[in-house]
Amino acid sequence: MALMAQQTHVLEPSIMEVAYHEISGKYNDDYALRVGKSMSQYFSYHKLRDDSLSSNAQTSMVILQEMLDEANNRNDASKQRASGPDHGDYFYRSQANNTFDTYTSFMGQGYKITEPMPVQDWNIVTDSTRQILGYHCCMATTTFRGRQWTVYYTEDIPVPLGPWKLGGLPGLIMFAEVKGFITIEASDIKTKSTSPVTFYNFLNKKYEAIQRDVYIKERSNPKAYPKNTIVIPQMELQ
């Protein structure tokens, strides 16, 4: 069992941070795409806050209280914490090594999946456009790991990146959607005084290396979940 336990450390300065709002069914979440020169990262702001607060005995009570409130009030939408298909994951994309690392966590246990940079075969539909955050965006579509994605990207922001594992277009992906499953839309872009691209491990968690296919297979098995777990469909089906 290969174990990785690295502490939180800065990887490189970032030049831009894009915030995305994600809606999947009844779940809401907010994500950051933090872009550096040779690497980028993608994670949930709420997950980061949870981990950061949980790393300290006093502040962890806040999280505990929120979780209890959530569990005790499943029917009260206001008590539901941010969640979604990729909520618990920290993604790191390294252009230099052409690799994509996913630090995920399943029922509190850490797993690390390393894969070659995912590549989507895009079909650009230049005559279908939208304005997002004031940027002119073009549509592109692809089928990636079992889901039909429709995205809008802008050539005005020349980075071949996007939310989650999506990217490789001639501009930033501002909007991504799988009909009936998920909608991800950019809500803010910052280029001034951005936080550096950082490897986060507030809880000093150890990550067990696992193959992507093995992980997906085990995780889609319902008996792996404890009682009352609300199972959220996964981003990747294959």
Binding site: M1, L3, A5, Q7, I15, M16, D30, V35, S38, A57, T59, V62, I63, E66, N73, N75, A77, S78, K79, Q95, A96, N97, N98, F106, M107, G108, Q109, Y111, T126, L133, G134, Y135, E155, D156, I157, P158, V159, P160, G168, L169, P170, S187, I189, T191, N204, K205, K206, E208, Y215, E218, N221, P222, K223, A224, Y225, P226, K227, N228, T229, V231
Partner: protein, 856 residues
């Protein structure tokens, strides 16, 4: 292989021949000659259409198909774009990109839900609200970063409770803002502003960076011209014990008036449906202020209650709460605030108690029926002055909290007595916080002082009487700070504490032989304390060490007093062994605070039966605890396990004594050292099941305690065991429909050294089914309790509830039917302190309630 090359060449040549395509290759570098990856290369055709794109590899190399005459644009964030016109037969290119400012157009958010300006974020209420939302709290709960606790109205932003709640920039409500969260109609609010890094004290602005957030409610301008109101009402009918209302009602009204320099808010809530409305007007800030040492309530009648039962099933109330808040701005820098809260609560309860005292020479049994009623009036008033300028800050709040509690308890049976207690508590406190700035130096002073007066009386059968007057003064003043050095962090708190208590007790009607029944004494202490804490955070290990030190001088009026120096160190280590296993070890040595409530000279009646006897001893209890816990999980297999074992060794310089003197029981303290050791263990196990999305979980809690008690002058050791387990099964046949079942088992026993073991078994089964159907939602609940009352006798109780909810545009309806089988009472037996006790409580009967919430 050779064949393949030829084919490739042919294809390549044919492509060339058809469209004169060429492949442009090369490398992208920056000003310093370093290769650049992820540079986007776009190819535009002569018709200015995007013809293709590529991006540079990690070594900066690229290749893109193009036609002669096309233009290639190289772009990358933070660099200036480069244009190249493609000609036929281009050699490999070297593209040099020069740095450029990252110029993204200034973005105006179109959705207009959120505006950000510096550290202030504004959320437009209309963008988050929908037809289901009534109060501003409902809407705030949906705004990103916010959480609202619906029962108390407490708001948190990014996980931290907010530090201030302003309405139109004025801090009218202070900590008691819960009522506004839960009742202020959202339709009248324009926006909610979050003031991040909010330093409510302006003099500190340059000195400290806070990550506290404050909330400012901006009303719609239309709301400033009239009273803003909201309403909720409900009615129903239920069966009840004689003496309690059969008709059920609830009503809530709210009004708010806002002017530029004056704000007023009024609320009124009433119900007899088992809801405790006084909770909303409790102070939501500074809970630790309330948790300081308090004088003991010596006079205490035994209210009929049963453990293991939820409060709303047995609360027979009639409650009224009225609140008024007025806020006036005096000048630019100062404001004055007046707050008034009045609660009236009349509760009733009926039940019976069977108490069996385990004695050497045969047990003593008291079997009584209880009829209890109480009337409580509480008036809270606060006057606060705040001066907040850049040079100095002064806040003084003066508050009074007055409670008049009158209780009547009539007991019939073994001993029949009519008891009446008057238990007023008058509490006045002043909280002063001053900060002054002298150049770059800050001088700050925090002081919390309180005075309490408890002139209390107990009347038993108009023949016996206890008068008890306690006066209590306390003060606490402190400062704290922290430093961080790499992996180490150190924090420190310094303070001074003082306390003074006067007690005058007079009991009338007790036999002279029993002991002193009148007395007058006082007790006080002064303490100097420092509490350092050191933390070390490494990869797999986390270690924290704390050692609070306290130097105290205690003085009781009847002796010379004593000085003490105490230290209570504790150590905690956590080790993440693998991704599946985590272990914790905790060790502590603690010195319990000296119990000042023990220092008095005479007997004080608690009720008709118990008499309290004081003891002037300055020794303190010490406790050594070691605990170990282990977590194991294999998440992908659905297995989770947690086990914890702790062992504690407690040494008390005194032993609890119980002396049977005629018809009285004297509870006191004897200066004999007691060692009481205990084992505690906890276990939790969860496993996923491979059918119907099923899950199974098991929890267990076990404790074993050895302890001693003095009864009638001789020592009576006893052993206690307590076990509590719960197993649950969850199935979800369809989405949103769920079936929950759990069974709980509790076992308690008590084994006196020279006596028989007594033990009780209790079972509780609960089931809940939720069926959603469009705008309707059905919830069915059942509970079955099987409680052991005697070795061979069990009592069965069955609860059933049904709720139907319907949501519409202006009105929400909820029809609830509770306690369908009209169970009358709940009984449970317990053991503790060489006593077996069985208590029975009358329940709220079958009840039908229709509630309407009007959303204007």
């Amino acid at each position: 292989m050779k064949m393949l090359k030829i084919i490739c060449l042919l294809i390549f040549l044919s492509a060339l021949s058809v469209s004169a395509q060429t492949v442009v290759t090369g490398k992208v570098i920056d000003d310093h000659g370093e290769s650049l990856s992820s540079v986007i290369i776009k190819r535009y055709t002569q018709g200015h259409k995007l013809g293709g794109y590529a991006s540079s590899a990690s070594d900066g190399s690229f290749s893109i198909k193009a036609e002669a005459g096309d233009s290639l644009i190289f772009s990358m964030l933070g660099f200036k774009n480069q244009h190249i016109v493609v000609s036929s037969n281009m050699k490999p290119l070297t593209i040099r990109m020069s740095d450029g400012a990252i110029e993204l157009r200034e973005v105006k958010v179109k959705s207009d839900k959120v505006h950000e300006h510096g550290d202030t974020i504004s959320y437009i209420v209309g963008a988050y609200a929908n037809g289901n939302d009534r109060s501003i709290g409902d809407v705030i709960a949906k705004m990103p970063g916010f959480d609202v606790d619906k029962s108390t109205g407490k708001i948190s932003y990014e996980g931290k409770p907010i530090s201030k709640f302003y309405i139109e920039g004025l801090d009218m409500l202070g900590g008691k803002y819960g009522t506004a969260t839960n009742t202020l109609p959202q339709g009248e609010v324009g926006s909610v502003q979050v003031l991040r890094n909010h330093q409510p004290i302006r003099v500190l602005e340059d000195f400290t960076f806070t990550d506290d957030a404050a909330v400012n409610i901006k009303m719609k301008s239309s709301a400033k011209t009239h009273w803003v109101t909201s309403w909720k009402a409900g009615g129903g009918y239920g069966s009840a014990h004689d003496g309690y209302d059969k008709g059920r009602w609830l009503f809530e009204g709210f009004g708010l008036r806002l002017k530029s320099d004056l704000q007023t808010m009024l609320t009124y809530k009433t119900n007899n449906t088992g809801t405790d409305v006084s909770r909303e007007s409790t102070n939501l800030f500074c809970l630790d202020e309330l948790m300081g040492e308090q004088p003991k309530s010596f006079i205490k009648l035994s209210v009929p209650t049963a453990s293991g039962l939820s409060r709303e099933r047995s609360l027979l109330n009639r409650s009224h709460t009225f609140t008024a808040n007025v806020m006036k701005r005096i000048s630019e820098d100062s404001q004055i605030n007046f707050q008034l809260v009045y609660n009236n609560e009349r509760d009733k309860a009926w039940g019976s108690q069977r108490t069996e005292y385990v004695l050497m020479d045969g047990n003593r049994i008291i079997n009584n029926d209880l009829s209890w009623r109480s009337n409580s009036n509480n008036l809270y008033a606060l006057l606060k002055y705040e001066h907040n300028s850049a040079k100095s800050y002064l806040r003084n709040s003066l508050s009074s909290d007055m409670t008049w509690l009158s209780q009547h308890l009539s007991e019939t049976g073994t001993y029949s007595h009519a008891q009446h207690s008057l238990l007023p508590v008058f509490d006045f406190r002043d909280n002063l916080y001053v900060i002054r700035r002298y150049g770059n130096t800050l001088v700050s002073f925090y002081s919390n002082n309180s005075v309490q007066r408890r002139p209390q009386h107990l009347y038993v059968d108009s023949t016996k009487r206890q008068n008890l007057l306690q006066r209590f003064y306390s003060t606490d003043t402190y400062a704290s700070g922290g430093w961080k050095l790499g992996l180490l962090s150190l924090s420190m708190k310094f303070g001074v504490k003082g306390l003074l208590r006067y007690l005058t007790a007079n009991a009338y009607g007790l036999p002279d032989s029993i002991g002193t029944t009148t007395g007058k004494s006082h007790f006080g202490y002064a303490k100097l304390y420092a509490s350092p804490q050191l933390e070390y955070n490494a990869n797999d290990f986390k270690l924290s060490l704390s050692a609070p030190v306290e130097s105290s001088h205690y003085k009781y009026s009847e002796d010379t007093g004593r000085n003490r120096l105490d230290i209570s160190p504790s150590l905690h280590i956590r080790w993440d062994a693998t991704s599946r296993i985590t272990m914790n070890v905790h060790g502590s040595y603690s010195v319990e605070p000296l119990d000042f409530n023990r220092f008095y000279g005479s007997l004080i009646m608690q009720d008709y039966l118990y008499l309290n006897q004081g003891y002037a001893g300055y020794d303190v209890a010490k406790s050594k605890t070691v605990s170990y816990s282990l977590f194991y999980r294999n998440s992908l297999k659905g297995t989770h396990f947690m086990g914890r074992v702790s062992r504690s060794f407690d040494t008390t310089p005194y032993t609890l004594s119980r002396e049977f003197s005629g018809e009285y029981i004297i509870i006191g303290t004897i200066p004999v050292k007691t060692n009481s050791n205990s084992w505690n263990s906890t276990l939790m196990y969860q496993q996923g099941l491979p059918f119907l999305n099923g899950k199974f979980s098991l929890r267990g809690l076990y404790s074993h305690t050895d302890s001693k008690m003095y009864q009638d002058g001789s020592v009576s050791p006893a052993k206690y065991n307590a076990l509590s387990t719960k197993a649950s099964l969850y199935l979800s046949p369809y989405t949103d429909m769920s079936i929950d079942y759990s069974v709980q088992y509790a076992y308690d026993d008590m084994l006196p050294e020279n006596g028989n073991k007594s033990s009780f078994n209790n079972w509780q089964h609960t089931a809940k089914i939720i069926i959603p159907a469009g705008k309707l939602r059905f919830t069915l609940k059942g509970e079955y309790d099987h409680n052991q009352l005697m070795p061979s006798k069990y009592k069965d109780i069955f609860f059933a509830d049904a709720i139907i909810g319907l949501t519409s545009r202006h009105i929400d309806y909820e029809l609830g039917l509770s306690n369908l089988l009209n169970e009358k009472s709940y009984v449970r037996s317990t053991v503790a302190n060489l006593t077996k006790m069985r208590s029975e409580t009358i329940l709220r009967g079958r009840e039908l309630l229709l509630t309407l919430v009007y959303k204007p």
